[in-house]
Symmetry: C3
Subunit: 263 residues, 3 copies
């Protein structure tokens, strides 16, 4: 009897998206499915209020970043920090906010390399479930080996030279994979815009405290079209999903990047 109870409890806990299927609410969930108000109220009515008012009611409505971009950033933070409990809700919210299935697929693939393979594999079955629920089939997903975007030869040569100089004497393997697999392949995949690829990379770096790697990718992101105002709002958004300390640790590095750019 104990074990049956545990199983039911666990089913409800770990696959929250299932439990609300019957009432059809999952296409426009107001918050984390099954982590309902009543569960939050049994532990922290305050957190319940903060989520409803400060996060969903205020943060997500701010105009400095579109709901679509906020969903992209939120997915990047949650995947790269392996916070699977929030993902069933935010995968569906991302689709509602206009993030394309092929973009979600590429976000997962990209973050396999930028945050570790296990974070990507952890989200595979959760994403499959959300896709199945919405009737999203293989024809909406990127090909395994699509026609790649054209490479910027000059920028790539400069990047490769820098990595060869700095990383070559330590790890020739890392130099090779970084070029062949990442910059000559992953980054050129066409189903996620370079600006969005940069956006999730920067969000992932900030949300995991990788301050030393922010400068290169933030410059690349801004070259790809991310504005200063958007960058500032990404930091504020990430504060909620990755914690205040990660946001604050990113600020001095971002300030330096801003100073080093024209305008």
């Amino acid at each position: 009897m104990k074990i049956i109870a545990a199983t039911l409890f666990l089913a409800a806990t770990a696959v929250p998206s299932f439990a609300q299927n019957a009432d059809g609410s999952q296409n426009a969930p107001s918050r984390t499915p099954l982590l309902t108000d009543s569960n939050f109220e049994a532990v922290s009515p305050a957190l319940d209020r903060y989520i409803r008012e400060a996060i969903l009611g205020d943060l997500w409505q701010r105009p400095q970043l579109s709901p679509r971009d906020r969903s992209v950033v939120t997915l990047a933070v949650l995947i790269s920090r392996n916070q699977t409990v929030e993902l069933p809700f935010h995968l569906r919210r991302a689709l509602d906010n206009g993030v394309k299935p092929r973009e979600i697929s590429e976000i997962i693939t990209h973050l396999a390399f930028y945050s570790g393979l296990g974070n990507a594999t952890s989200v595979i079955l959760l994403a499959k479930e959300a896709f199945t629920e919405r009737g999203i089939g293989a024809e909406q997903l990127p090909a395994a080996s699509p026609q790649l975007l054209p490479i910027d030869q000059a920028a790539e040569a400069q990047r490769a030279a820098g990595v060869e100089r700095n990383v070559g004497p330590v790890s020739p393997g890392l130099v090779q994979f970084t070029g062949d697999l990442l910059f000559k392949n992953l980054w050129l995949r066409p189903d996620l815009a370079p600006r969005d690829r940069s956006l999730i990379t920067v969000a992932s770096l900030i949300s995991n405290g990788h301050v030393g790697q922010i400068s290169f990718h933030l410059n690349k992101a801004m070259d790809n079209g991310l504005t200063r105002e958007q960058v500032g709002e990404v930091i504020a958004h990430v504060a909620f999903y990755a914690g205040w300390p990660n946001a604050f640790s990113a600020v001095p590095v971002v300030a330096e990047v801003f100073k080093g750019r024209p305008g």
Copy 2:
């Protein structure tokens, strides 16, 4: 058959607190429930011994930090590192050690902001289960919007000016939320003493390697009453639950803070 076996196995794995309900031991568990000696012995008799002797038998008995404070610190580390496997045991141990339900509620809420929302939502159902088991109802929880503690206007003005100067040019949104939501609201909630709020913030920072954010919060913690001896013991305690490298990385920063203070 395979799937049934998997379900039972998983139930036992992921909701350890249930399995010992029948024998009544959960009110005074000697260690991680269901992660019993026999399971540890099937993998690592050495780890089993270390936990019983070095951690529960030695560390937790040291007088430099009360069992209550050790529970507060342990919850902070586990929540802010999303280590849910240890939480069912330590939520109950915290209650046994005198941490009030309202304090546990506030710890979860506070760490939603200081370690990311997903870490807090991951503990909601585990805490609800522990509260239900102990008969803890809504009347023992903090109000969503209580009467706040009075603010220290001078300290707040100084903090706000520093954040405006350093963060303002990068992320006006982060400046605003940090003031309105954190320092003028969260930190003033009355159901967790400022000293304890500082204690969990510092423990969370150390256990996630946020060395750049330690100085401000450690000074605040010591202003709020944490002694040098307690700080030193927090670091030793965190070493076990967040790993030695995080403890060692904190030491130079803590040493600097000690030097900069009178006495």
Copy 3:
């Protein structure tokens, strides 16, 4: 009905190793069990291809590091980052690649201290399952209190003096536990070679961004026999399982260590 579906789904998700028991494939799995090609193809055919071609087909076949060492490194990364979804596969792959059960047991125990207790307890039941499946009993595990390896008195005296000088003024407890529990006990346990103990420590440090702690342990690892070529390849391997930013952040520190050593 919903709940039953959720339970079956969850069983398949969280204990992937079970589902392939019937066909006998688990002794030589081609990839993460149950995270089958069809599940990956429903979300990211690209990631499926990268795993098969770049990771299992290329990375794992490179001669700079043996498959056995790659398994040791992979276990260290996955355990110390708490990425349990990949562990059922890699625990079995490690056994297939010649990592001894007693070594796996010691890896788990060692990383309890170097990456936090919760990471080790999270793997206990997964490892028990893999051991049971392979018929590995208590007689193949290290004793809780074995005869320890002889200590290098000179090196230990130097280490202890440094820690006393740097850590002593802040945390006497950390000084004591570091000596008595780690360097005079854990590191001297005979069932994992000192070179392997260093290897997992370095892999764990890199994969969690603990750059400040790398120098000491990398020097110790190379004193214990790890070559420059192997170190470089460890970094490349860790890039895939802990993300590129952690690999790149380690490079400058490793370069400094290389410069400071003869040869």
